[in-house]
Symmetry: C2
Subunit: 229 residues, 2 copies
DNA sequence: TAGATTGTTAATCGATTAACAATC
DNA sequence: TAGATTGTTAATCGATTAACAATC
């Protein structure tokens, strides 16, 4: 019945789109024009059917026997993710990580432009990092209004994260990229993306521990070996 | 039949463990001794049953009516993830992000100690970042042997990532924390954890786009409103 | 005791994988 | 044409959620 199936909520698939995007750029640079899902799957150790399903999210279709036009695919991913329109962002917390993110100009490719940085350290306020002036937190309101900023990156210490988030939401921020381990309480209508490095490290540690165990119990069924006990 | 069910492969759950860990530390500092999964779920906007299942991974059990001993739980998470043993790590690529990670001493809490940094820029080699000397890539073999390092963090430009990974694997590295968007080909027995910021940004962008769409189609079923067309 | 909370077994939901017809 | 590849429908797998007995 629904004229609009709107089955656009596959987060794992969304996370894979940038990975395809990166690969596609590489192929383009190598002079390729078309690519099949078989090739993509092979390069990324994925299932070709999965790749096809993922790419279908963007609405693009391929040609049997030929594959997909790489350029079209890249654009489709960008527009699906909204990376083809410019987004201005604030960054709050000019410590090690904040400074690194300010210096990393790679986000521009994704339409993300950090237009102002904030910190509450009087030593830092008034200074510049990678050409961007650092403002005191009080200036936030003023600048948000003037620049119509909707996205903010939080790189403050965890203890300060909630207060900073509250303040950001207050000045109209609706998307928060949270690099602290703090869990932020936000009202409906505000989106938070947690980027906690500890989670990534946990997975790495866990995989390593698993592997170590596997090696200690020598031939404990090599995935599907014969039962030998 | 299997005396060892070994159902320890729930990656989403593993990613949540550090989040619990952080919350538990906060509660401990507030003077709490016990905590129930109801409280944890409430704080993190999760399901209490899910929290219980996740915590069960670590092997710890709680007491009905009381909950879990916070200190025990913290230790259990740490030991499950191997965070209670020290792991030495290399870091390759002392650019913006690499420098930030070197300066971020928070990893020590997770047992991860960066013991040497490498870069191929002669300008950087011989210098120091946050007290750590920067070595040329050639020194890798030497140092890996001497220090028994098993983990490496890659923060080089994407184009150089595969070559660096090859070299690292060559000197005995078995765990790679890959901060580049490059997909690394590694032999069996080597674990890679990709930490591509673009994936996180993609999810944020996607959620924001979704929200915008929702607002544009005004009352398109408020999750379960009446069909009005 | 009464009742909150755990831990386990079963049901549901969603993502991945398989099967296969359509197509260039 | 023959056959590689797409796109869709169905089957499987795994994670989340529900139900409920056990317990302090």
């Amino acid at each position: 019945m629904a004229q609009n199936t709107f089955k656009v909520n596959n987060l794992p698939a969304v996370r894979r789109l940038p990975i395809y995007w990166h690969l596609l750029h590489g192929l383009l640079e190598k002079g390729w024009e078309y690519v099949s899902t078989t090739v993509i799957a092979d390069e990324l150790k994925l299932d070709a059917i999965q790749v096809r399903k993922d790419l279908a999210l963007t609405g693009i279709t391929g040609k049997p026997r030929v594959g997909y036009t790489i350029k079209t695919l890249i654009s489709a991913i960008e527009s699906f993710l909204g990376w083809d329109s410019n987004n201005e962002a604030f960054l709050v917390g000019v410590g090690h990580l904040g400074t690194a993110l300010l210096g990393y100009n790679g986000f521009a490719r994704f339409g993300l432009h950090i237009v102002a940085a904030f910190d509450d350290d009087p030593q830092k306020v008034g200074g510049e990092v990678h050409g961007l002036p650092i403002f005191p937190l009080e200036k936030m309101n003023d600048l948000a209004e003037r620049l119509h900023v909707k996205i903010a990156i939080i790189t403050v210490p965890a203890e300060a994260a909630q207060a900073v988030a509250d303040q950001l939401i207050n000045v109209g921020i609706v998307g928060i990229w949270n690099f602290t381990p703090a869990f932020l309480m936000v009202p409906e209508g505000v989106v938070v993306q947690n980027e906690d490095l500890a989670s990534g490290l946990a997975v790495l540690s866990h995989k390593l521990t698993q592997m170590k165990l596997q090696n200690e119990l020598p031939s404990e069924e090599h995935e599907k070996g014969e039962a030998n006990v």
